[in-house]
Amino acid sequence: MSLAWSELPRDLIGRHGLERRVHDRGGEPEIRFHYRDRIPRIPVWRDGRLQVVRWGNGRGQSRALPRTGWTWLSTIEEGGWRNSGAVPVDIPASLAMERGVWYRVRQGVRGLLVPDERGFAVAYVICEPASHYYQVMTRSDRMPVLIQEQI
């Protein structure tokens, strides 16, 4: 995920040391959030406040949570996260990347925020089966659930 520099408040950038994530590809600079980062982080809108939280459980910091950074929409609908304390959140994003393909995201991506056993907030990106177009474009069979947008 990547977010336009102007979309994140300065204090949040400073507090989480996000300067090291700034990239310039022309035009407005961006702050990039990679799941494979040493300390994976992702911004979320929670109760009207923008926060930067841990992205998934890829390094196994939690024994209770799944060791991924995403979850299927169908899993949520089938009650797979029931009683976990999970709440839906919006993940602001200007761009997303799948298998090396950067594509524009207009509003953001749907996410799930869940506390781990120590009470730390962990975010998961919600996914659904890829559309035909998305599948051809990225060769991926899953795609993030975009906010009010379809690819």
Binding site: R25, G26, G27, E28, W102, R104, H132, V136, I151
Partner: protein
């Protein structure tokens, strides 16, 4: 306002699809952007930043990624591009009494100097006005013929504006450009000219006219006149009547499955019928052309017993055409359906042995009315079910060639 009948203008948008995306999305400005078509497989337009990285139009996304990993890829939206294109057309009509809607991002026009301004200043005003009002950067060329005007606007890209009616400046331009820069001269035609040492546009302009006619027929001779500043190709404010109508395109993913191929045939037949109906014409001849991944192609043609725009009759004719064009186990990647020998729908002769089918007519009307009110392809043939993902994507409901009124294809 005095018009100079000799002055022809050509306006061409700079990387139009990308510019159109930037109109509604400022975040994309100054970044390498590629617009994807054909269900996400190929780059159909690229920004100058992406071009600088070596990405070419028509390149598969996987090859473009290697050259430009920082590029941003956007799904095409022809409906939006048409909106901007028609707004540009409206602005152009404020500047000229005769405007030709040549293609979605190109216009020819009779160049009229603005009061108190030279043609050069007028070219700059037009360029800037389009950019201010629509937000799309364009290039403008004004010259003594449309071929020269187009060559100029191509040369001054991006965001240039040049007017020249002087022979000396024209010759300089012609000497700098290879003949392949002229629309209509490529491949075999360029090779034919090459045998005679004709490589630049100036070589062509200075060549013997009868030789050019011999080598390139009457259309080549017309180019010769135009390059020498004699306009023989008029500006067409109204598109001439179609001699043929065609619908089709790339499948996105190549296929050797006859069921899928048949589904494409039905989809293209339904699209072709929409077009026949819009223009109030019926087809007397139908061709089905299929191209394969290995570079080969197949063609099937049929003369219709009676000209028609009826789905069942056209499909009956198209089916054997597809069989002729089909190569078992070869992977097909494109199909085109072409309706020719067009005649007016009203007043078409009735067949003695094939009376009109009331049921089929009613069905066609109901289908057309539902689709026009509630969404294109809402009612369609069940034979297109193998293409459910295509119909599920609303972007596939609108194709570039469905934009009407342009004089080019």
């Amino acid at each position: 306002m005095s018009a100079n009948p000799q002055a022809v203008g050509h306006l061409d948008a700079d990387c139009f699809y990308v510019s159109a995306e930037r109109v509604r999305d400022g975040f994309l400005k100054e970044k390498a952007v590629g617009v994807l078509g054909n269900q996400g497989a190929c780059v159909i337009a690229k920004s100058y930043e992406m071009k600088a990285a070596g990405v070419k139009t028509g390149e598969p996304i996987w090859e473009a990624l290697v050259k430009c990993p920082e590029g941003i890829y956007v799904k095409r939206d022809f409906r939006w591009y048409e909106v901007l294109s028609r707004l540009m057309l409206d602005v152009m009509r404020e500047f000229s009494p005769r405007v030709e809607y040549y293609s979605i991002d190109e216009f020819f026009f009779q160049a009229v100097p603005l009061p108190g301004k030279t043609l050069q200043e007028t070219a700059v005003v037009i360029r800037d006005r389009i950019n201010e009002q629509i937000g799309v950067p364009v290039s403008v060329g004004i010259a003594r013929s449309r071929t020269l005007a187009k060559l100029i606007s191509d040369t001054v890209k991006p965001f240039g504006a040049i007017a020249t009616l002087e022979r000396e400046a024209e010759e300089e331009l012609l000497a700098e450009n290879p003949v392949t820069e002229i629309t209509g001269i490529a491949g075999r035609r360029a090779a034919r000219l090459g045998h005679w040492g004709i490589r630049t546009c100036l070589d062509l302009a200075r060549a013997d006219r009868t030789l050019i006619r011999e080598l390139l027929t009457a259309s080549g001779e017309a180019l010769w006149w135009e390059l020498n500043g004699d306009p023989v190709r008029p500006i067409l404010p109204q598109r001439p009547r179609h001699k043929a109508l065609s619908r089709g395109g790339s499948f996105g993913e190549a296929t050797d499955d006859p069921v899928v191929l048949y589904a494409w045939l039905v989809r293209n037949t339904e699209r072709l019928i929409e077009e026949l109906h819009y223009h109030g014409v019926i087809a007397g001849r139908l061709s089905v052309w299929v191209s394969y991944k290995d570079g080969t192609s197949g063609l099937g043609q049929a003369n219709l017993a009676l000209p028609t725009d009826r789905f069942d009759l056209l499909l009956d004719a198209a089916r054997p055409c597809l069989r002729k064009a089909w190569r078992p186990r070869a992977r097909a990647e494109r199909m085109q359906l072409i309706a020719e020998r067009l005649g007016p729908r009203d007043g078409a002769p009735l067949g003695l042995f094939d009376p009109p089918s009331v049921q089929a007519e009613v069905l066609a009307r109901v289908k057309r009315e539902i689709n026009s009110h509630h969404g294109r392809f809402l009612v369609r043939s069940a034979a297109t079910l193998p293409l459910a993902p295509i119909y599920g994507d609303s972007a596939n409901g609108y194709d570039i060639c469905d934009i009407r009124g342009k004089s080019c294809f």
